[in-house]
Symmetry: C2
Subunit: 312 residues, 2 copies
């Protein structure tokens, strides 16, 4: 592999994934990953442009940023690209009035959106909100439209609630691991979400269905295809780059997800580093399809390298 100087030359902007890079979500609001608070601070003091780029869709930016600020991060709402606000922009641009099938935690993002007489459906990881009644309501709204539009915040398969990465790995590798392909497919989509209510945790811990399956159900029943807003969609990365005025070839993504972060960014013309934190697995460094421009132990190491090899 080429020297770091070559691989990092000409970088002017940095996109940072949040969960698994800045902090590990989990019990009690989560914990900062060692060195990440300082790394973000150093990056923001440097000439490099910085943007946070997350697929979080159960928390509003306000709540997410609140969690991160309490952990010591220098971050504000206006610096975050997330599926819900990106969707709001799309809704406004196209005159769409959504029927929402989403988690209550993210509903405030849609506060200034006209929801009268809906002409599209927005679906996100609604958790317990995926009741038969709610699914039917979304289905009926779509069926009543001449040109049904379904927007999905991400298309993840599985959420692992109340489990550490290692527990999830052990589960998948132990129980399903004979089938290499499925293990991979499952783990790639695992997101670790916090659980704050013990009762809820007890009832629903384990591998849970994420929005992807429910998106498929509506696609199938209505004979339509959803528009996915979130990584690895190229439009999503482009909107993050646009916000900091940086071209793709001058930008680098730092994430823990070899497919969603690294592969997605590269397909968009960006470079991408994978950190060995969050949902990183050793096997990621030999992924059959995606090869990062570099693997680093954590965000702190990534920022060291970036600042060291930055064009002066």
């Amino acid at each position: 592999m080429a020297a770091w100087a070559e691989r990092l030359s000409g970088v002017r902007g940095v996109l940072l994934d949040i969960s698994g890079v800045l902090y590990d979500s989990g019990t009690g609001g989560g914990a900062a990953i060692a060195g990440s608070v300082e790394a973000v601070a150093r990056l923001k003091r440097s000439p490099l442009k910085v943007r946070f780029c997350t697929n979080e869709s159960q928390k509003s930016r306000r709540e997410l940023v609140g969690v991160l600020q309490r952990l010591g991060f220098d971050i504000s709402e206006g610096e975050v690209t997330a599926p819900a606000p990106a969707t709001c922009q799309i809704l406004k641009e196209r005159g769409l009035r959504p029927h929402l099938l989403i988690h209550e935690g993210v509903r405030s993002e849609f506060d200034d959106i006209d929801m009268s007489n809906p002409n599209c459906v927005v679906i996100a990881d609604a958790g317990e909100g995926f009741s038969y009644q709610n699914m039917n309501r979304a289905f009926q709204v779509l069926m009543e439209l001449e040109n049904p539009v379904l927007i999905s915040l991400g298309k993840g398969l599985i959420v692992a609630r109340g489990y550490s990465r290692l527990q999830v790995e052990a589960w998948i590798n132990g129980s399903v691991g004979q089938d290499g392909e499925k293990s991979d497919c499952s783990l790639l989509a695992v997101r670790e979400l916090p659980h704050t209510e013990p009762r809820y945790y007890k009832e629903t811990s384990g591998l849970m269905l994420d929005v992807g399956g429910y998106m498929k159900a509506l696609e199938y029943a209505c004979g339509i295809e959803a528009e996915v807003v979130g990584k690895p969609s190229p439009e999503f990365f482009r909107s993050a780059l646009q916000a900091i005025g940086v071209e793709a070839h001058q930008a680098i993504m730092i994430g823990d997800d070899i497919v969603g972060d690294v592969g997605g960014a590269q397909q968009c013309g960006m470079r991408a580093l994978q950190v060995r934190t969050g949902k990183f697995r050793p096997g990621d460094e030999h992924h059959p399809e995606v090869r990062a421009d570099g693997y680093v132990d954590n965000l702190a190491e990534a920022v060291d390298l970036l600042l060291q090899h930055m064009d002066k």
Copy 2:
């Protein structure tokens, strides 16, 4: 089209669809279709073999037969081929112990099935039973299996509850009808189900998601393909023929569903008549892919023709 004598020559056995051919389900237990009670009686007095072949999966055979007997039909449980008992036979043959995600109304069909330590999932139109919790439990059972098996009782898209066929047609044609393909796709899968509780009806009437979408969600999330038990699966028709010892080329299906009944039976080597009752629509007689061996006003006319042209 050839004369009836030619089209019906050599028929020795008849498969009868139930809903929309014998009776229209709906408010208050449903109503016999004019002439059908007598037609079934005449058929059973004739030398022709008779078998009832239904996709009903919210009622046990006992309950279904009870409804039909109260309407005057000569029918017994042992004469009915239905997805739930067909599934039980598959489970026993293959040593499968199911986790059930089904409607309570059909649960008694599984009374003598071993459900300890499940090694497969059986999914059917569970209605309100399609909660996030129940879907997750089914998903988790599948994920824990080395070779996950998912059996689906039918793969219908949409159920129309508490609506007449005409209301559903008007709805679909009026609201979605600009897009011919989707209208077709939707209507083909419509089943009219009775609603017995007014509260339930008020809350959930209209077009509702059937098992198909939920089957797709599990397929997608687990990376597997479901085995579908019910029309138009060839195995299902074959099991009905086997029960009366009649070969496919000697058998005729009588149904109201141009794709599920007529197309499915023909692909199995049988002949098939479509009745102009139940979910029949005039457009069915010009269906782009399926052409029945004959169209008749109702079961009574079909039986008239069959008895008239039967080999003496």
